[in-house]
Symmetry: C2
Subunit: 107 residues, 2 copies
Amino acid sequence: MINTASAQPVFRALADPTRREIISMLAVGARPVGEITDAFDITRPAIAKHLRILEQGGLITVEVKGRERINRLNPQALKTASDWLNYFEAFWDERLANLKTVVEDKK
Amino acid sequence: MINTASAQPVFRALADPTRREIISMLAVGARPVGEITDAFDITRPAIAKHLRILEQGGLITVEVKGRERINRLNPQALKTASDWLNYFEAFWDERLANLKTVVEDKK
DNA sequence: ATAACATAAAACCTTATGGTTTCACTTTAT
DNA sequence: ATAAAGTGAAACCATAAGGTTTTATGTTAT
């Protein structure tokens, strides 16, 4: 299975609702800090902090373009979290299958 | 897409490494609080708090059995998080496909 | 050259989080 | 009946997290 420790920066980044909304926004297209800030009711420094955490989790990449910082979603990083989760979904399916087998056997 | 707000208790529960380890442990089989505690270096009340948060996120269900509380994984709840993530994986695949198309067109 | 822009960085504040210790309460075993 | 086991709950503590305001810095436009 996926290592719990290595998944930490990703799950940490995903834990905050504002950060998840930023991810949604960046899915539509890359954006500079100010433009992202406009969509929220919090200050730019607060957004900048969220972006840093997203970057640490590998969820976004930043391209410095003159005085702007273009933030771009890196959806591949979401796979780390997805893989971790999917392991258990598989597990669940297996259990369902086993349960079904037991039920079938009782017939 | 999956609502960001409704996903909050799940993502919050997943954010802590101890809680993710508890999930891994419960995937093997349901366990009472004390047995879970034995596997960690923290106190029982700390584990109990983690279990409460997992319960709030719908990730476990608790069956009170005499003086014991049996904690059982509810892997279906992981689907909430998984669905949220998969939306973006699909998005990424689409972009990859588009990019590929552009590249193909240039030939 | 200078003003406006986009942003980072630092200092600070409040609340949430993860942990502990202590105490109380049921349930089971003797 | 009494002791032990399994747990919850409360009080408390230190640190992390999310936010703000203020100050500084490099970049673009006039």
